[in-house]
Amino acid sequence: MSQTTYGWLVLAFPLAGMLTIALSYGPLKALPARTAGWIGTGAIFLAFLSAIGALIAMQGHAPDQRTAVSAIWEYAVTAGLDARMSILVDPLSVYMILVVTGVSTMIHLYSISYLDSDRGFGRYFAYLNFFVFSMLLLVLASNFLLLIVGWAFVGAASYLLISFWYRRRTATKAGIKAFVINVVGDIGLVLGTFFIFKHTGTLEFLGSFHAAAAGAFAHSKGDIVAGCILLLVGAFAKSAQIPLHTWLPDAMEGPTPVSALIHAATMVTAGVYLIARLHPLFELAPAAQDVGACVGALTLMIAGTIGLTQTDIKRVIAYSTMSQIGYMIMGVSVGAYAAGLFHLMTHAFFKALLFMGAGSIIGAMAGEQSLLKMKGFRKAMPFTYGCFIVGGLALSGIPPFSGFFSKEEILALTGAMGGWHWALYAAGYIGAFLTALYTFRMIFIAFHGEPCPEARELEEGHLHHAEQPFNPADGEIEDTDVGFPGPGHAIAERAWPMRVAMSVLAIGAFGAGLVQIPQVDSVVTNFLRPTFAASPLYNTKPSTGLMVAGLIGGTVIGLAGIAICWQLWVRKPGSARAWQERLHPLYVLFAGKWFFDEAIDLTVVRPAAALGRFAAGSFERLVIEDGLVGGAAGLTKAGSAIVRSIQSGLLRYYAAMIVLGVAAVGLYMLLQS
């Protein structure tokens, strides 16, 4: 089979899985309890196998023959419009589908145990498959149209999953927030597409790249810059970059595997993919590239500082995601495409792993997510602890864990650009230091020290159950009926699907970096080369000195961060509080998340709400309701009455009408000429 056939299969399996689970809700109830979960996991696994098939089929071609487009049907191909249902299978999309399906398979597997007792089990897997399908559609789309469709589907799927426990008020609010901010991004994406389409005249990616290379934007530099910046707005919203990031921490309201899915394999990486996919356009708009790089650098630092102060274990990891995506956005914006995408892959492994570990601890805490209450789980949960350490070391960039190589490569290539990019380079290392701090703060708080009661209970072989189920966000007492988390909870130590999923990811988090070690091998770079063949930035190489300095410096910074954490939270517990007192203003700023929510509330939400109230109260009542709607409806009704009154049914009036009509037309024609 050709690589595009495999590409279609990659799309078909999750879609089929979603439809099967969704449509056979009744019959599934008769089958063993976890059937829906296994169907969902199987569908994604088959998609993963198809992705491998696509990889093998593609590698059979010569490097310049590896890009293939296949249209299943043409929706509307006519003068000035080419809307096709077509996919683009090239090294970049194959790389993406491998990461997406691979990590998603593990997350599905993990979910089978994690959601076991939830009343919405079948619904959950239908949503999850839909989410993966949407993401695959996004990365396989060969034109802007399907990209926008996939983009919007991902937004919708994230809404469904974030507010999966729909009877939790906090969850539905978080879902709405994510959806609204994503729609802001969608608008940017659609408008940006118009700017591009206006000049290239085609929706196809390859066609617009050709047109752009042939000088479609030669006389309209402004339009390409505006278009790319609008595309960046879309990317920022999906990838949670400042200032459109506020939905991401709130998205933690979804079940923990959903957080893993959103953060690791799907959704937030869409922005990175978008910039990489459209790199020929972005390279024509250096201003947009610079905006992307600066926002990425800003995000990675700010998110790191916020991560330092969070007390909810999932939120710490969420801010860490923002920060890491900041690295990727910065990387692909400065032209370090392979490095950015390499980091995307390693991040997918270790971030999914960390979320799964967090899910395991939350299971042991019976739903509690606050770091302040967790303590000393090291002995009670050795497997989870091990996974956390692997994930944490990878995240902090300690050699030879995977995150080390990918992060260093982004930073070295950024430095190699020279000039003001040194500022980005420095920001990257500040971010790296913060990363090590917040990661090991979290690990040391949760796993070291005196065991908390829950940990002690677990050490005695009994999993803690809350007396009453409650919402960790606001402490509200909850039901365990549908729309709430189920009564049961699972930990990796006791559920083999969770263990398998975490083990596989831990291996990835440890070893994935070995495929691309500076000066040794560069598998990812070589693999992706056909996609980026035309890019002048792709072959930039940092000098050996810079590379070595970075590798050593990065290691030292990471280890220093870990050492400080050891000092603050293990050797002298309590000294952290003293520092918090000493740096109080900074702490307030960080713990307040730099007050982005408040700023957005003040600058956007409140004026909009005030405008809305004004509009509803006066404008709508007077102008819309009475004037436009009332007027239009009245006019239409009056017109209807007139038309009917002329329609008397009497022939002579009809004949007279024709004569009058002729006279009117004749008069008009004669007067006009």
Partner: protein, 531 residues
């Protein structure tokens, strides 16, 4: 025959008759003759089953012959007719619409009362007229085609002879139609006077060569011709016969008129104005654009609040004619394509709607009142879905063919410099939702009225509870007396449901995969001539 006569005959130069190009037309007209003859045979089975079957065979033959001619582009019969993509596509629409009409009329009251042979012969000769009209390249053939189209239709409207409204409808159509024909004829005569020619090409040549654009005689001719065409295409303010005639005529005939007459009239409109009068387009285009806008408004506004589905669809067809005129106005290739594409989707959407009305007329006592379809979402999903798709399509909702058609028309209007007309189309579609959606709502969200379930005597029986317009006329046709049974009302008829389902499915299919239609009309737009 004496040898001398034979020799003389040999010396008269016989005109070359290009039978290939004429073959679809001949299939229609030949079919009419055969059907008329077979209709005279005495076995009832032959008359009632054989005649429609033969009519369908004739129409099938016309489709086959049209496809056989595919790709041809030539003028035949000394430039009187033009065989090109437009003609062939129009023939396909006409024959398909004809087949649907025959299926709907097969077991209808009209067939019983007017005898099947006559009904189908008239139907086929009217189609012949339309086919001729769509190929016409001079004003004489144009008028001939128009009359051949119209006269059988006048009779067809009155084929439910025992129903007063049907007779009234036929008579009204005849009288008003004569006014329309006279207007057109007068207009054609004035144009002939101004340009000295009856052939489209020569008229166009004369207009450009003698720069006749401001000529009063020509303008007068154009005025009257516009009025004549607008009458046939039911464009406001020449549309007033439409609701009365559509409502009164037997429903299968209404379906046929709504679809086929539009095809004939609009293609002739396209040919005459975009070929013969293209040089004077500065004169007529703004006028026609204004007429199109008036038509869209009048049609959509008039359809509001109609409880008779046929009357509502009549006004809707007025509005749709206005949409399609937008494609004529811009006088561009894109416009021609958009008009033809809309005619195709219009065929599917209207056939689905009328087929459902026919089915419900036979099943309930409500006639074509909206109550007839209330609650059928549950009881008759195979009728409810096609009507739903048809209504959504006519309103132009995406994922139906109507959306694609309207999108293309608006595209044509905008790129032809008539953006305001595109805006009017959108406003019209907006208003149209106010009468299309209630039908959908009635089907899915309302309960079926209690008496609908009871077996009904059919439209010619007692008046419906809502004051259905059918008067009760007692009367015995020899046919009915002989059979001693009720007319063919009462049961659901497979062929009617089939038409509804196929047309509804086509509406949906071409909304999702419109590419075949684009290809088809791209082929058709190529051969129009002067562009």
């Amino acid at each position: 025959m004496t040898p001398q006569m034979l020799i003389a005959a040999a010396h008269i130069p016989a005109p070359h008759v290009p039978f290939g190009g004429l073959s679809p037309l001949l299939a229609f007209l030949g079919g009419a003759l055969i059907v008329l003859m077979v209709g005279l045979m005495s076995p009832r089975r032959v008359r009632e089953q054989g005649v429609p079957a033969l009519a369908i065979i004739a129409l099938g033959a016309a489709i086959g012959l049209t496809i056989w001619q595919w790709g041809d582009q030539r003028s035949i019969l000394d430039g009187a007719l033009r065989i090109d993509g437009t003609y062939l596509v129009a023939n396909l629409i006409l024959a398909t619409g004809g087949i649907a009409a025959v299926l709907l009329a097969w077991r209808s009251a009209a067939g019983h009362e007017a005898a099947h042979g006559e009904l189908h012969a008239l139907l086929l000769s009217s189609l012949g007229g339309m086919s001729l009209l769509t190929a016409a390249q001079n004003t004489v053939v144009l008028f001939l085609g128009l009359e051949l189209l119209s006269i059988p239709l006048y009779v067809l409207c009155a084929t439910e002879m025992r129903r007063e409204r049907s007779l009234e409808s036929g008579l009204k159509y005849l009288i008003i139609g004569s006014v329309g024909s006279a207007t057109l004829l007068y207009g054609l005569a004035l144009i002939y006077g101004a340009t000295g020619s009856s052939s489209f090409g020569a008229i166009a040549g004369a207009i450009s060569a003698r720069s006749l654009t401001g000529d009063v005689m020509l303008l007068g001719g154009i005025t009257l011709a516009i009025a004549g065409f607008c009458f046939k295409a039911s464009v406001a303010p020449f549309h007033q016969w439409t609701p009365d005639v559509y409502e009164g005529a037997p429903t299968p005939i209404t379906a046929f008129m709504a679809v086929a007459t539009k095809v004939g009239a609009l293609v002739a409109f396209l040919r005459f104005f975009d070929v013969a009068l293209i040089g004077a387009s500065g004169d007529w285009a703004p006028t026609v654009a204004v007429l199109a806008a008036i038509t869209i408004i009048v049609g959509n506004v008039g359809a509001l609040g109609q409880s008779s589905l046929k009357r509502m669809l009549a006004y809707s067809s007025v509005a749709q004619a206005g949409y399609m005129l937008a494609g004529v106005v811009v006088a561009s290739k894109l416009g021609v394509r958009a008009t033809l594409l809309y005619l195709i989707v219009y065929l599917f959407m209207n056939m689905a709607a009328f087929a459902v009305i026919v089915a419900r007329e036979r099943e309930t006592s409500f006639g074509d009142d909206i109550q007839a379809v209330a609650g059928i979402g549950r009881s008759r999903p195979w009728l409810a879905w096609p009507l739903t798709l048809s209504m959504l399509g006519l309103a132009g909702i995406p994922a139906t063919a109507g959306f694609v058609g309207k999108f293309y028309l608006i595209d044509a209007a905008v790129s032809g410099g008539y953006t305001w007309l595109g805006v009017v189309i959108v406003i019209g579609s907006m208003i149209s939702l106010a009468y299309y959606l209630p039908v959908v709502a009635a089907m899915w969200m309302r309960e079926a009225p209690a008496s609908a379930a009871a077996p009904a005597a059919g439209p010619s029986g007692e008046p419906g509870p809502s004051g259905s317009p059918y008067p009760a006329i007692a009367g015995g046709s020899p046919e009915l007396d002989e059979a001693g049974s009720a007319p063919a009302h009462g049961g659901p008829h497979g062929e009617v449901v089939l038409v509804a389902v196929l047309a509804g499915a086509a509406t949906l299919f071409f909304g999702i995969v419109p590419q075949p239609l684009f290809d088809l009309v791209a082929h058709a737009g190529r051969g129009l001539g002067l562009f």
